[in-house]
Each structure stands twice: as C-alpha cells, then as structure tokens.
Amino acid sequence: MDHASPLTLIAFVCAAISAAILVSYLVFRPKLGPGTKIWLLLGVGVFPIGLAGAGNIQDFEATKKRAFCGDCHVMTLHTADSDDPNSTSLASRHARNKFFGSENCYVCHADYGMYGTVLTKMGGMRHFWLYYTQYRNTSLADAKHEIQIRKPFPNSNCMQCHSTQNPIWLAQRDHTAMLDDVRSGHVSCASAGCHGLAHPFWQTPEGGTL
C-alpha cells in the first residue's frame, strides 16, 4: 500500500466498524429484538457494502499500476525496462512521461471506446487465468517464445494522444507519406522501421513482439 487515499480510509473505517459489530454480536449474543437487527444490518449489510464499494474502486485502481502487472514473473523484464531511466525503448520513454507514469502498461494497452474498461478488465482476467494455469512455472527464457501479444497493438491506442492531426506531426514527411496506412493501422507506429518496438527485448526469433 503506497499511500492511504481517502477511499482506502473509508474502506478501513467501514471494515473496522463492521468487524466490531459482528464480533460484539458473536461474543455477547444479545436478545434478537428490533434494535439488535438494526445493529446487525449495519454490521452485515451497510458497512460491508461501503467497504466493498470503496474497496472495488481501490482495487480497480491497483490493477492499473505497473507493479500489479509485474507481479507475474513473466512480466518482470517489461516492468524492469519501464523502470530503467536509461532505457530508450518506446515503453520506457512513455513511462517517463507524467501522463503515463506508474500506469504506463494500462494507458497503452487499455482498450478504448464505450466498453473499453470492461473489455480491458476481461482481458486481464484472461491473463490471470492463463498465468495460473499455464505459465506460472515457465522460465523467462521460455516465456519469451511462448507468450505473445494476442492481437497486433492497434495504432488507435497511440492515436489517443498522437492524433495524427497536429501540424508538427504532419510536417514529418514519413508521417504524411503513410498517413492513411498509419490511421488505418496497416503500418504500426511501433514497427522496427518507424518508432521501434515497444518491448524490443521480447522479440522472438520469428520477429514477434509483446
């Protein structure tokens, strides 16, 4: 826990009050009158729901952190690269940008659009499942060959920030020459001939990257 946000404090207060009510009921076993039921409603219902609400938001925020992604050992090279101030990889350069910061994995890899967050979380659940069912004991050397990005990284994610409409961006001849291909995603921004691979250390002999 890096720091206690207001939501975390709310969650802890709800948890403490709920636990106190529940323990007091189990210890003292009061007569089951209306007062006891209201008291128990607070302990079983109101405060746990408050804890769940505040906790869910905190947990969702935690899942955006680079440290969360790096908790699975097969991702440690990626997080180490992002943490490296001397790295010139696309991922690391973005991690040094304040807008991306400690959430750079999420900001780049999240799906956008109306259901983007839900789709991203579903993808995360898939990663969790695959890790604990297939890759938990896979060495990093093997993981480099076995784990690949599921679908090509979409340029539309880059275009959330780099709109391809800025005059400075359009002044680059390489950009204007391939404008339609870049916008349609036929040419990847992160290809070797353009801005380079986001995670070059993960390149496989076949040329795939993650």
Binding site: F12, A15, K31, V44, P48, A52
Partner: protein, 81 residues
C-alpha cells in the same frame, strides 16, 4: 428438514461476514493479482451470502405480521429463538 435457530443462522452469517471483510481488506493491504481477484469475487460472494442469511431471518420474523389480520397484529410479536 429442520432449519437451524435464528441465532445460529445469524452467528454463521456474522462469521461469513467477518471472513468477507477480511478478504476485502487483504486486497487493500496487498494489492497483487490474487488478493484483488479473491476480494472482488470470493469476498463479495461470501459477504452477499451472509447478508442474504440475515435478510432471511428478518423476513422469517416479519412473516407472521403480514399473514395475520389487522385485528391480530397487535397480539403477534416477532418470534425470538
């Protein structure tokens, strides 16, 4: 099948609720994949079950009040175990 007494159901609900609270707090202290997934799935399922058990007891106690005629209501008190 005879149902356990209301006190017993509520005691089990309290224990379940304590477990749920513990699981949810665990993810706040240790926001790694396993605690977070457990808190947001198992923790909330257990918490919901304990709340449903509590609501079942309350509904059971209130049922005689709604079944009786208006004249009887004054004489019926919620059943205590």
């Amino acid at each position: 099948m005879k149902l356990p007494s209301h006190h017993r159901i509520l005691s089990i609900a309290c224990v379940f609720s304590l477990v749920a609270v513990g699981l949810m707090v665990w993810s706040l202290f240790d926001p790694r994949p396993v605690p977070v997934i457990v808190a947001m799935s198992l923790g909330q399922v257990i918490g919901t079950l304990s709340l449903l058990a509590f609501l079942f007891v309350v509904a059971s106690d209130l049922r005689p009040l709604f079944r009786s005629t208006p004249d009887d209501r004054d004489s019926i008190k919620p059943k205590s175990p």
